[in-house]
């Protein structure tokens, strides 16, 4: 019951933020630097602040269970360069084998043994400190705080609080010379950060600090067709970004210090005007990371574009100016 009460207060907080967001106006551009538009990526944090609602679903099979995680994140800018956010992850864990329950699997496997629950919530503060149009360069510093002990024990939420400082950098290659025309649509992003965990009693492994990294390499078909060469791809193919994301984590303290996980996530992102979709395979790159290939899916809404009069609101009137131009 204590956990439920915790979630009730989180939900009230979300509702409060939603109410604050649902007030008047002013705006900038998300993910745009010069000619370059960077999509939001699935496994690696992107180098922008924005007004966005993102849902990423991850499904993997490990030796003990089928795990599905539904991660929702709402971010809201307070100024063109500063944003706050809140995130929640729903875990659904269905044990497979190893429990002496195999015999019953055909009968009622839907219910038996499946755990649903929330991980600890996450609160984010993000500041974009570089936006260089000529170099198609962007960088954001972020700090996430995930208070411990709020989520559900059934899905293994951490009892300690995690504080995660991180930095994200994005670079497009549109500034290459003309002989490299076909490489201009390429962009890379990276995210580097730490998960610093407070040790609150019970399990030692909860307090392991970690270094997390991510690198993405993507090819922008919209960039190719708009700025380099119109190769004649029709909708919806003209809005596709083939991408490979690499991400990993190295434990830097605790009993498993030095162990690292790493994944390659090849896939496609499709970006429309108001939303983007993404799907990637999640391929473990070493034994610690698992044995089977998982899948990642994303649905992402550009709130400022969908409802500019609502989601481009800022408490700092006069800094951003009026949202809608006089007509």
């Amino acid at each position: 019951m204590r956990q439920r009460t915790g979630w009730l207060s989180i939900r009230l907080l979300v509702l409060g933020i939603a109410v604050v967001i649902a007030l008047p106006t002013a705006g900038w551009a998300h993910g745009v630097v010069g000619k370059r538009w960077f999509p939001s990526t699935l496994a690696v944090e992107d180098p922008f602040v924005s007004d966005e609602l993102s849902t990423v679903v991850e499904h993997i099979r490990d030796p003990h269970a089928l795990e599905t995680e539904i991660e929702m994140e709402l971010t809201k800018r307070l100024t063109p360069n500063l944003a706050i956010g809140i995130g929640g992850t729903r875990s659904i864990i269905r044990p497979r084998g190893g429990h002496g329950e195999e015999g019953e699997e055909h009968g009622h496997e839907e219910d038996t043994g499946t755990s649903h629950g929330w991980q600890n919530p996450e609160f984010m503060l993000r500041y974009q400190f570089i936006r260089n149009p000529m170099r198609e360069l962007a960088a954001t510093a972020a700090i996430n705080v995930s208070p411990g002990g709020i989520g559900n024990r059934s899905v293994g939420r951490l009892s300690g609080t995690t504080v995660s400082p991180a930095i994200q950098i994005g670079k497009g290659f549109g500034d290459l010379p003309d002989w490299a025309d076909w490489i201009k649509p390429v962009a890379v992003t990276t995210s580097l950060g730490f998960d610093l965990r407070t040790n609150r009693n019970d399990r030692e492994e909860d307090a392991q600090h970690a270094f997390g990294w991510g690198v993405t390499v993507m090819y922008s078909v919209p960039y190719l067709q708009s700025f380099v060469k119109d190769v004649g791809l029709p909708w919806p193919f003209n809005r596709v970004f083939p991408i490979v994301e690499f991400n990993g984590e190295t434990l830097i303290s605790g009993p498993e210090k030095g162990s690292h996980t790493a994944f390659a996530n090849p896939g496609l992102i499709w970006a429309g005007k108001y939303m983007q979709l993404g799907v990637e395979a999640k391929i473990p790159l070493n034994d610690t990371s698992g044995k089977s290939v998982g899948i990642l899916g994303m649905v992402h809404f550009f709130l400022d574009d969908i409802a500019p009069d609502i989601f481009t609101w800022t408490p700092f009137h006069g800094v951003l100016g009026p949202q809608t131009l006089p007509r």
């Binding site: 649902a22 929702m72 059934s154 025309d181 119109d230 949202q323």
Partner: protein, 137 residues
């Protein structure tokens, strides 16, 4: 991810309760009548990166949304960086997604179109693209 209790804990009710939040957000989005955004180029004439046989009378760029005439610009420069377009760059009166400019007869060579548009929600997008006028042979 790897840490989870073997205890089988059913928590479907809170799932049902939480799921009303995305429903609320979705409802909010769907009932919002104003749907604006950045304007990105959809296609253009001459086509991006193509070679045309004879000098085009105009450069036209179609965007995926309406653009603001007062804040949208277009210019065409030759290989030496000199502006060659006529001074009549405009948003088409009948089609608010079309940015166009007239050209005098162009000699063979490489040209580059520079454009900058502001969507009606103030989101600015800009870019440039090359095209070539084929030599007379």
């Amino acid at each position: 991810m790897a840490y989870w209790d073997r205890k089988h804990y059913h928590d479907n009710r809170s799932l049902a309760r939480w799921s009303s939040f995305p429903a609320l957000v979705m409802g909010l989005l769907l009932t919002t009548s104003l749907a604006w955004g950045h304007a990105f180029p959809d296609h253009s004439d001459p086509r991006v990166g193509w070679t045309v046989d004879k000098s085009p009378a105009q450069v036209r760029i179609w965007f995926d949304g309406a653009i603001e005439p007062a804040f949208s610009t277009i210019k065409v420069v030759n290989a030496d960086g000199q502006q060659v377009n006529k001074q009549d760059g405009r948003v088409n009166a009948a089609d608010p997604t079309l940015l166009e400019v007239d050209l005098p007869p162009l000699s063979p060579g490489k040209y580059r179109v520079f454009w900058s548009v502001v969507a009606i929600d103030t989101h600015r997008t800009e870019g440039d693209y090359p095209f070539t006028v084929a030599g007379a042979r």
